[in-house]
Amino acid sequence: MFESLTEKLTKAMKSLRGETRLTEKNIEDALREVRMALLEADVHVQVARTFLQRVKEKALAQGPDGKGTVVLDGLNPAQQFIDIVYQELTEIMGGTAPEHPLDFASKPPTVVMMVGLQGAGKTTTCGKLAKFLKKLGRSPLLVPADIQRPAAVEQLHVVAQDAGVPSYRTDSKDPVAICKAAVEEARIKGWDTVILDTAGRLHLDEQLMNELVRIQEGTQPNEILFVADAMTGQDAVRSATAFHEKLGLTGVILTKTDGDTRGGAAFSIKHATGRPIKFVGEGEKLDDFQRFHPDRMAQRILGMGDVLTLIEQAKDKIDEKEAEAMAQKLVKNQFTLEDMRSQLQQVKKMGSMQKLIGMLPGMGQMKAQIESVVTDKRMTHLEAILNSMTPRERANHNLLDAKRKRRIAAGAGRPVHEINQLLKQFLEMKKMMGQMKDPRFMKRMAAMKNMPGMPKMPF
């Protein structure tokens, strides 16, 4: 849908190659493009303005002699500029993550209060957080304080069960009383973390906002987390600010990041409240939940793709050596059908295809390409076809003549044209991967590798 910022900038700034300093004039176009990228990503207009002003000042005053930043060899001013934008955005979004995801009380129980607008995803997030904490060895208690929405209480009980944690049961219809009693019960029974699922409400609703204040006064939470939908537009600033002014938030959880939204709301909220974004929800399953990584979010907002998440996740589940070898092959363009097959298998290990694709860099064309190759059902077919080839055939696709194709088709139970299709896609992938040899691409990757806080890259 969107052309990535890097692509746009490269186009717009071709003529500027060879200039050695960032100047007001040569970053003018880049500034405009970045502004557009931020707005397309739903960063609040005012936030974008303040941010760009800051970046501009920084860019122009950063050189060793106080003059404009020196453009590194091999980069054009736009690329140099975007790098500053990226660094700055990452910095503002949170720098490095704190050691502890939550501020745990020295004397249990720790009380975590979840607040937010209707439909943001609080209830599901409660379950995810509980499961996350359970894995850390804590024992959470979930408390249904949403007596507003039909069946919200029931939903929380189910979610608690899925997460394998207890939920507080009561006949009370008073959210304040429920929360207080639940905290008391946790104290007695030794649950060390109490998570309060409050009803979604509009910040404009004075009465319901005051109810939150009463819950806060009654339970003295250690954390008040604002749960926000990543697809939120400009309104994010207004709602987050209102909740923050009323309650004094301690952090933010961003939900539904598994879609294709650029998620500028994250930046707006961080900017408006100054509070850290602590977690992101990235799917409907309780395990689809992670600590927030400012660098990844910055890349996403700028449309640079989420290369790092992809790599880290891959590293979790794929043997690292295998990944290394694969990367070598990619670089040398020795990618074979055998590799395609083992990739498919690895991808299957890693879970849903869509999710993986969603994390690939915004190289529009490549993404569309891969998407067309690997919708989930087709994967099974592709694998069947690849399995029906001999190792020699997989090592050398040139062997595949009409006769062999017919044999493979029969073996896989797929029509011959699907074999041809697969070959075509294989060749396209091979070609795309060949492009990764492009020194500029490698340079970019190398630059990322050397940034502080970055995981080691397999290539």
Binding site: E154, H157, G233, D376
Partner: protein
């Protein structure tokens, strides 16, 4: 005389300044008769804050510039309203008219208000004296069926369901079959929230379509995309994906009782020529009202 003239001018100036301070920025700008470059930029920023998106705002600014070239004085508010209404009135909303058995499918991303909208809609139709059958097509989210059943109770209409994790297409089929046999005029189908990027979930909508069509070839008669007014520019991608996967026929914009303006429907309607059937303005049974383009535009232009 001169003195009075001076005083009067001062007074007027003072008044203007007060007005500038007191009036919301958008009101102030729209009250001007000509806008200079700075004021245009300021207006542009304010319009962007309504989630109209870069493209639509550009279109609006062009129209303003065009009018200012042709006329010494303009009424910016009238100009913007005219341009926005042109987009919003392209496709007038079609009323819900009972005719045989009409099947309505509600779709959208997670948490936008599908189930609530369905509950309100059921109640609205029921209060017109028309029978409704509600189908619990969200068999995925925890307690989604219980939630829908409570709405069914509120509206006084039956809810047909199968167990959690069941096949939504099968229950939709059952609903359509039963409604047709009994001559029930309305079948409202709730679906699980799904992100438009998840192909397998989007294909599930197609499966629901096909199983409905086995019973009633024209079904579903309406496919309503429910969208949350707080949605940013991603709404455009959502609408396109749901159009492609589920052939949406109408939009419902929810949560307009909040501070979000719902401006993203402007680029959506500009591109996709869809009507907005209703807007949601609260969590109560009656908080679903017909879309009024003029009132909506007034909302967009008040900041």
């Amino acid at each position: 005389m001169g003195l009075f003239g001076n005083l009067f001018d001062k007074f007027k100036q003072g008044l203007q300044r007060t007005q500038e301070l007191v009036l919301a920025p958008m009101q102030r700008l729209l009250g001007l008769r000509r806008l200079d470059e700075d004021q245009l930029l300021e207006l542009e920023d304010l319009l962007l804050q309504a989630d109209l998106g870069l493209h639509a705002v550009e279109r609006l600014m062009e129209r303003l510039r065009f009018e200012m070239k042709r006329n010494a004085e303009i009424d910016p508010k009238a100009v913007l309203k005219d341009e926005l209404l042109k987009i919003l009135r392209q496709v007038p909303s079609r009323p819900l008219e009972a005719k045989g058995t009409q099947v309505v499918l509600l779709v959208g991303v997670n948490g936008v208000g599908k189930t609530t909208t369905l509950g309100k809609l059921a109640s609205h139709l029921k209060s017109r004296g028309e029978d409704v059958l509600v189908v619990a097509g969200d068999t995925f989210r925890a307690a989604a069926i219980d939630q829908l059943e409570l709405w069914g109770e509120r509206a006084g209409v039956p809810v047909i369901r199968n167990q959690m994790g069941g096949d939504p297409a099968a229950i939709a089929f059952d609903g359509a079959t039963s409604a047709q046999a009994k001559g029930t005029p309305w079948v409202l189908i709730d679906t699980a929230g799904r992100l438009h990027t998840k192909d397998h979930l989007m294909r599930e909508l197609d499966k629901i379509h096909r199983s409905l069509q086995k019973v009633i070839p024209e079904a579903p008669h309406r496919v309503i995309l429910v969208m949350d007014a707080t949605t940013g520019q991603n709404g455009l991608v959502q609408a396109e994906a749901f159009k492609a996967a589920a052939g949406i026929t109408d939009l419902v914009l929810t949560k307009l009782d909040g501070s979000a303006k719902g401006g993203v429907v402007v680029p959506i309607l500009e591109r996709m020529k869809l009507p907005i059937a209703f807007v949601g303005v609260g969590e109560g049974v009656d908080d679903l009202i017909p879309f009024d383009p003029e009132a909506f535009v007034d909302g967009l232009l008040s900041a």
